[in-house]
Structures are given as structure tokens and as C-alpha cells.
Symmetry: C2
Subunit: 577 residues, 2 copies
């Protein structure tokens, strides 16, 4: 077996394989090499400068004993894939389902998740997006504390479990997107700086030290990232990546890492002959990310649209704290987002105390490049108590929210459990084995919300195992009301979206919104369809041309004399000939 | 007189006008206002929180007593401009002359510089580019330590002197570009942070704290910059700006400051009906800066090309230290730069320990957007002893260098005195009145070069007035050899560039280079012209088709039997029918 590791920092490197140490030799590129007999599942690690315990391989594929333990060899060729007939799925026309393996099922494993895939097929989504599955510290965690990006978290089922999951998805016609984090490393188990200059000399973001993307030795760091991206897409048959917080990727090179990634993924796409998708989470409101490279952009496939979320959330809940402030809790901002993509397109952001964003070229940009969602893991879990919208909104308003997302011009995304208005929260949880880190994490969390007026006793302790357990979905809810009815609404909306070409029309120009801010109704025009929403607490009549009611969240009434009677907090979709 | 200042930081602000204090009132935007009777040249300053001495106006137009003193009102309308007939000059076809007011003449003033403008007209350049004239600490300084960007350095002649200079240039058909520094503030006299968040909360560059371009309150900081740029172009009739070290402008907004600047300058251009030019100094090797906005770029007019300089410098001198290393002291790199714009277009930079740059789209990018130079203030003054090329190169190689610059496809730029091979150095000089700062500056300079093997006694003390005086041009040299001959060569080359359309053809595709690395000759083909250079220390024959010799640095010989005999270290330009 050939062992190799990039480690220009130490003067000597040995590899320990099944307990025996073997010195390695350095090449011109800072890589150390050794050929050592090994079994297919040998344990190994690297000794730097003959000191301390052996460290895990930065590119380790398995960490059976966690991120501080030895690495395990993994034979990528051993798994017998069953998805030979799978030809992938392009982003237009899809609906995405965001899912955290640890809390999706009681067992919290890939294999248990496979048992629930039929639910997703029946729901009508076409893509499963997994929160990060890379190796992280402790047993349960959202996944954004990853330190060994090439390993699949062992407690979820490790690399083979992951392959079984992807295979099972493909077998059911579901594509898989993987959430990957390249902007920082977790607070524990990050041994990379011992090997080489993975971290930027200066600069940090909210979560930790910045990754070195353009300083000395950054070429190998970029390869570490890009090779990782290619690994998921090639070796795990994944169909797309969700790139976490790309605004925290500090890159001064003339070709941004995101563009390099898009170029290399496009080359792989031609090779694997499946569509591969790259979606950025970005708070830059910069259309350059999803503009084709031929037009000076980075050429990513899509990006999350927090503006749509914030407009919708603020409208439905009336919340105006923090970054919701500028969204005004009215229809006007939502109308702008639906027709022009970004709300902050150069407009003042009081949250940032500066103007923010840049207009989308709505003549050219297909609307599906923006992802639209009513809830996601962040917007739920980053609330003090991780409460879902179902904890505060009426069933009627939940259904109106679902209607606005699933009839929007954007690629819709749901957060697991949203489709039945899950009664379980989704809270911030960690399981750091180091007591000090656990305390620091918990205190940081409580301090953050104390600053927003929360009593620290009311903020769940992220280290408390109950916080994790409380966040697991309760599948028994599916058989009970009001969950069953909401699920039916989601199913019907997803089916409608597939059936009606107007709903997936990529042209912003085809979207128009009329509304009455005082009366709290709005009509979204999408080609020959009208999405009529009554947000008010009482029934009201809305002017709509006569048409066929295709869908209604409540008691549907056709238009009479150009007026349609809409029950309180209801939505309907009409075809107007 | 209406006084106004942006100062959200203090709780109270007064304006002191001619010794009397007047409280100001705050508006919603963080600006303080007061209407106070004043003379046309009243002295004034701002008292923050009633404490300490009054501070100069961040937008002060005059600082007669230096950057720590009171500001002086200035009446922009009083000057009687004589350049009504001036309609400006576009960048294509121009040649630029870089000039430092303090050392251009013995007197070191605008008025003294005016007396030398005829020399520039006779030389044949068309643009005068001034090193920064903004107010800086002390009497003499390169200008990059500016702290009051709106004031013209008093020792040069202040704002009226500056206007006389620009007026005189325009009267002689010379355009004026102004070097402006927006990436940091000088080490002394920077009172801006007392008023508001001008500096970024985190981050610094080589020269000081980063300017706040995208954090909270950055909108007014950007206005401070853009308004300053517009001031030079509008109020001082300047024709273009040279933007210092734009790679140090840290901007996370979706619209980069440089693009905003280009948009606002384009609007002013339409209003003043003169072409306005923006040229970046950038070490990013990123064509986006000079790509039109319609194609996803920032739309600046041009940028300095250090790659051309480094290739040419390394070829002529054989130097390979520091960033010259990758340029290889051979012809091959120069040939690449001449035909493809950047050498580092994604190639490995051993200086940066990473790949660097991105290719220029040579099918679309006009070559004149890159500035080409054999010397400039930085490449001279940042050497340990500020030695010009004329201190080490033979007159023959100096002439070959001049030929390669002035027949290149790039917009040529000369550094004052280069045209006659000035015997005076151009050294790093400062005149900080604060002893500690003076010592720190001098020690920093010596330490920097000690790291490169210099004896600190050999590195001139920047604070020593002699260092400044030594850097002044000696105009008496013009009448003596070898200066007179070199000046003649520059004049003939600039005249040739004007006379021959092939030399200003913007198409990279029209440039071809053939060379023999061992024999050290090269031929640059530019349309129907051949620029033949023999860099070797001995005479040699070079294969060239028969043609008319338009220019030669030494004894010109026509081609005989397809061979042209080139004297040692010589260049010639032929027209080949």
C-alpha cells in the first residue's frame, strides 16, 4: 500500500500501520511517501517529527474511533453499486428536501434513513440534501464542526453506509446533494496546521480561522478542497454539493476558488455523464456566483435565497428583530423578491448599516438558480429554542407559506418535518467530549441569546443529550392531525408543481404580483395561473378573473362576478384561461 | 458659510472658525451642521466632545500649517481657468510621464514644474502623471503617507498652484493624471477615526489599517473616496486617476468600490464632456479590473503591468532576486508578456508560493489597457539605494530598453529623468516631524534591506534631508553626454510611435516575437514593422527580411541577403514591405 501525506511543516514523518512505524520520504512538493504492506482495513496514522501520538490522515476516509483516533484504510472499489441506470437530475424542476441524518430517524443512521425514503417519494420531492456527514468531534452534531472532510461520520454508518444511502436514493429516483463546509474547521480535532499551512496567516470568521486560499502554499489547500468536492461527486455518486457560507471563503486570487471548483466539476460532469450541481449558501447577494463563466461569473448552478425566506417569514410571523427588520413584515418586499430575485439589490440594510447586494439581471437569469424556502436548518436551529414555524403559526398560515414556496419561481426546498408541521423542535446540539469545549460552546450559545433578551435557563444546553434527542423527528405525528392535513397540502402542491409548466417557468418576466398591504391579500400571477393568498384573520373577497380552481388550502370557492371569496388564512391556485 | 462634517462617533461637535466656537447640530445621517459667518479664507477646525485641540476637516481643501493644523476655507470658484479649449485625451495612443513634484525641480513646486513642461512637450509624451499631492505629514515625502486626501500639499503650492499646473499642462496639450491612495492612511495626522468608522474593524495591509469599504457605516467612507476622485476630475480639471495598490482595497460588497468608482466617473465624463481615465496599480493579474462592465468586469480604463517591467528589467540586468526570480532573465518571458499581456496568468509564482494570475482574453482586450514601463517610482525608489537603471546598465542597453517599451503594444510610461538616464538616484525619503516616527521609519527601512544582505550604513536614511535633496533631478545633465544622446533616442522613439500606426495597434494578435535565447537577440513583429534587438555584448547578424530602417539606437545597417548586422547592445526598427 502506498501511503502519502502533504506535510511540509515537520522535518520528519513516519506512518504507523497496525502498530509498526515506517519512515517516509519527502518529495519536492512537500508530500511524504512510503510503501508499506497493509491490510484492506489497516489502522494507520502519521507521526510528525517522531513526537507525540500518531495523527489521523488529513484525507482519511474512515475514523472508526473518532476524529482524534487513528485512520482506517478504505477500499472504494469494494462496494457494489446498484445505480447503473441512474443518469442524474438537473436542478430546474426539482424540489429539495434538507435532511439531518442524526435526527431524521430515531436510529440516526443512513440505513434507518433509507427506510424513510418512500415517504419522500410519496411527498414528491426529487432531491435529498444531507447536512454535513464529514467526521466531526463527538457523536452528534449538526455537522458544521467537521475536521476530517474526507471521512464519513462513523456513527451515521461510515462510508459504506453512505453509499448504501445514495444508492437507495437513486433507486427511488431521488438525487442526493451533500452539504460541504470549506470555510473553516471545527474547534476540536483539527490537526491540519501540524501538517501544513491549511489556515490563513491572518483573518478569521464567525466559526474559526480562515482557510488559506490565496497565501503561500495555498495551491495544495485548494486541491484539498476541490479533491474533496470531486470525491463526493465521483466516488459516492453524489449529484450535487451545497457549499456552506461561501462569503467566508477569503480568496484574493484572480480565479476565485468557487470558479475553479465549478470548472473542475464541469470537467467531471463530462466524464461521469451525469449532471452535477453546485449550490452556494451566500449572504453576498451577488449574482456573479450564479452568472455563467462566459459572462464573467463563477458559473455555480444556484444559490440559497435568504431574502425570499426573510420576506416570507417576516410576512407570516410579523417578526422584525435583527436581520428581519428591513423586510418589513409586509407583502411589498415579498413581491419584489418574487419578481426581481433579491430584495437587497443595493438597498439599505439596517442590519449591516450599509447598502447591500446587487440586482439580478432578470432578463437573463433563470429564476430556478435561486432556492426558495419557508424553513431550513439554520433559520430553525439558530433560533434560541429551535422552534419551527408550526410552533407559532396557525395551520392556515403554514399552508399559505407552503403554497407561496411551492408555486414560486425558485427551486423550492423543505426542511425535514416541515411537510407535516413537525411538533419537534430542531435545536442547536453538540457532543464535544472535552469538558472545557462543551462548557464554552454552551456558554457562548446562552450569551448570544442573552444579548437578545433571552433568559439563559430557557436556552437549551447544546451539550445536553436531551437537546439532541428532542430534535429528532417524531414519525408517529404523521398519522395525527393537524400533521396529516398539512402533509396532504404539501403533496398536492408538489404534484401541482410537476403538472403545471407555468410553475417551473424559469422566466422572472412571467411573474407578477398584485396585493393589498392593508387587507393582507396577494395574488401571484405565473403564466396562466393565479396564486391567491388571504393572509388576513378573516374571510375576504379578492378580485380574480374566473378560472378553474386547481388547488386550495381551505374551502375553495370559484370566482363569481370577478370576486373570489377566500377563507381566513388560505391560499388557492386557479387556472385563468 | 455652511460647515458640515460626518462624525457619528462624538456626542458633541463644534466648529471653531477664526478662534470662535460654534456648536453644530446632528442630522440623521451622522453629519453635523452649522451656519457660521466666515471669510473666504477663514481658519477652522472641529472640536469633538469639547475636548482637545480642534481637528482639521476630513474634507479640508487647504492645510497651510500642515496636517496637524487648522483647515483653511478655499473658494473653488475663484480661479480663472484658461483651458476652455481643452477637450481631453483618451488613453489609446498616449505616452505617460510619471513625475514627483518635490524632486522634479530644484524648487519642488507646481510653478517650477510648469517651467519644465516644454521639455515634456519636446520629448513627445502626452500625459503627466503626478505622484500623490494630497496633504501628508512633514514637508517632503513621496506622497503615499497622505491623511487629508482633499487638500493639496501646501509646500507644492496648495490648491491654486495645482490648478495653475493643470491649466499650464492643458495649454500645452498635455493631459494630467493624478495618483491617489485609497487603500490606507499615513502614519501621522490621521484623525479620521476620531470622527467615524473610516477604518476597517479588522485587517491591515503593508502600510496601515485597511479602509472600511464594506462594514457598518462604509457607505459614507465610500462616498469620501468617490467624492475625492470626482473632486480631482471635476474641480481640478484632472484627466485621469492612477489608483494606488488596489489589491489592498478589501471590499466584500457585491459591487466593488472600483466598479462603483468607474460608474460614477463615467457619469461625470458625460457631464464634463472630456474623456476621464482610471488606471489601477494592481498586483492581482486579474483582467476583471479592465474588462468592460457589460462583460462582468469593473470597467477601469487600464492597469499597470508589473509583469512587463519585471520581464524587461530581469532580461536587461540579469537580476533574479525576490519577485524577479520567476522572470528568468531571458527573452522567453518577455515574449510571452508582449503577446499575451500577463506572464503570471495562472503560472507558478515562487515569490508567492502559489500560482498567480489569470489569462488576458487577447482576442478582445486592447493591449493599451496595460501600461508598460522600464522604470517607475516604485521600481526605482524601493531599491535599497534608489538607483536608476542608468547606474548599472550601459547606454546601449538603456536604449534597447527604451525601444522595447516605446514600440510595445502597451501604453508606455516613463519615470521622470529616465529619458536622459539621470545620474541622480530616486530614494525613499520622508520628513516626519515626530522624532519617534522618524526613527521607526528609518529603522524599518534599514531592517528591510538588512534582510536582503545590505549593510545598514549603505541604506540612505529616509529622514535625512540629504536623501531628499539627492533625489532631485539635475537638469544640467541634459546638456552633457551620455544624457543628451539618450534623450534624443527617447524623442525619436516617441515620434516614431506617433508616426507609425502599427505601433499603437491595440490588437495583441498583431504582435509576434522571435528570438534566440542563447545568442540574445529578439525581433518583435508589429504589423509591417520589425523591432530588432541585439542584447549581446558583441555584434551579431540577425535574419530579417529587407526593409527600410526607420530608427536605430546605434549604427544602423540595412539587411543584406536577409541578414542584418546589429552592433552590440543595439536596437533598430524596420519597415518590411
Amino acid at each position: 500500500m502506498h501511503f502519502a501525506v502533504w506535510a511540509p511543516r515537520p522535518d520528519r514523518v513516519s506512518v504507523r500501520v497496525d502498530g509498526a512505524d515506517h519512515p517516509m520520504t519527502l518529495d519536492d512538493g512537500g508530500w511524504w511517501h512510503a510503501d508499506v504492506p497493509a491490510d484492506v482495513e489497516s489502522e494507520y496514522g502519521f507521526l510528525l517529527d517522531d513526537a507525540g501520538a500518531p495523527l489521523p490522515d488529513p484525507r482519511s476516509r474512515r475514523q472508526p474511533d473518532g476524529v482524534h483516533g487513528l485512520s482506517r484504510l478504505y477500499d472504494d472499489g469494494a462496494y457494489a453499486w446498484g445505480d447503473a441506470g441512474w443518469t442524474g437530475r438537473v436542478l430546474p424542476g426539482t424540489a429539495i428536501y434538507e435532511l439531518h441524518i442524526g435526527t431524521f430517524t430515531p436510529e440516526g443512521t443512513f440505513d434507518a434513513a433509507i427506510e424513510r425514503l418512500d415517504h419522500l417519494v410519496e411527498l414528491g420531492v426529487s432531491v435529498v440534501e444531507l447536512l454535513p456527514v464529514n467526521a466531526f468531534n463527538g457523536v452528534h452534531n449538526w455537522g458544521y464542526d467537521g475536521v476530517l472532510w474526507y471521512a464519513v461520520h462513523e456513527a451515521y454508518g461510515g462510508p459504506d453506509g453512505y453509499k448504501r444511502f445514495v444508492d437507495a436514493c437513486h433507486g427511488r429516483g431521488l438525487a442526493v446533494f451533500q452539504d460541504v463546509v470549506y470555510n473553516h474547521l471545527g474547534p476540536s480535532g483539527n490537526y491540519l496546521p501540524r501538517f501544513a499551512g491549511y489556515l490563513a496567516a491572518a483573518g478569521a470568521n464567525t466559526w474559526g480561522a480562515s482557510v488559506n486560499l490565496s497565501g503561500p502554499d495555498s495551491e495544495e489547500v485548494r486541491r484539498y478542497i476541490v479533491d474533496n468536492a470531486l470525491m463526493w461527486l465521483r466516488d459516492y455518486h453524489v449529484d450535487g454539493l451545497r457549499l456552506d457560507a461561501v462569503h467566508a471563503l477569503v480568496d484574493e486570487r484572480a480565479t476565485h476558488l468557487l470558479e475553479q471548483l465549478a470548472v473542475e466539476v464541469a470537467a467531471l460532469e463530462a466524464h461521469v455523464r451525469r449532471p452535477l450541481t453546485l449550490i452556494a449558501e451566500s449572504d453576498l447577494n451577488d449574482p456573479r456566483l450564479i452568472t455563467p463563466r462566459e459572462a464573467g461569473g463563477y458559473g455555480l448552478t444556484g444559490q440559497w435565497s435568504d431574502d425570499f425566506h426573510h420576506a416570507l417569514h417576516s410576512l407570516l410571523t410579523g417578526e422584525r428583530q435583527g436581520y428581519y427588520y428591513d423586510f418589513g413584515a409586509g407583502v411589498a418586499v415579498l413581491a419584489k423578491v418574487l419578481t426581481r430575485g433579491f430584495f437587497h439589490d443595493g438597498t439599505w440594510s439596517s442590519f449591516r448599516r450599509r447598502p447591500h447586494g446587487r440586482p439580478v439581471d432578470t432578463q437573463r437569469m433563470p429564476a430556478w438558480r435561486l432556492l426558495g424556502y419557508l424553513q431550513n436548518h439554520d433559520q430553525t436551529g439558530n433560533r434560541a429554542v429551535g422552534d419551527r414555524l408550526s410552533a407559532t403559526l396557525s395551520p392556515g398560515l403554514l399552508a399559505v407559506g407552503a403554497t407561496l414556496v411551492l408555486t414560486s419561481p425558485f427551486t423550492p426546498m423543505l426542511f425535514m418535518g416541515e411537510e407535516w408541521g413537525a411538533g419537534t423542535p430542531w435545536q442547536f446540539f453538540t457532543s464535544h467530549p472535552e469538558p472545557e469545549l462543551g462548557v464554552a460552546t454552551a456558554e457562548g450559545r446562552k450569551a448570544e441569546f442573552a444579548g437578545h433578551g433571552w433568559d439563559s435557563a430557557d436556552v437549551p444546553d447544546p451539550q445536553d443529550p436531551e437537546t439532541f434527542l428532542r430534535s429528532k423527528l417524531d414519525w408517529a405525528e404523521l398519522d395525527a392531525e393537524p400533521h396529516r392535513s398539512l402533509l396532504d397540502i404539501y403533496r398536492r402542491l408538489l404534484a401541482l408543481r410537476l403538472a403545471e409548466p407555468a410553475l417551473t417557468d424559469p422566466a422572472f418576466a412571467q411573474v407578477e404580483v398584485s396585493y393589498d398591504e392593508q387587507a393582507r391579500w396577494l395574488i401571484v400571477l405565473r403564466g396562466d395561473l393565479r396564486v391567491v393568498c388571504n393572509l388576513a384573520a378573516g374571510e375576504q373577497s379578492v378580485s380574480v378573473p374566473p378560472g378553474e380552481v386547481l388547488f386550495a388550502t381551505g374551502a375553495a370557492s370559484s370566482t363569481v362576478d370577478g370576486q373570489m371569496v377566500m377563507p381566513a388564512e388560505s391560499a388557492a391556485v386557479l387556472r385563468v384561461p
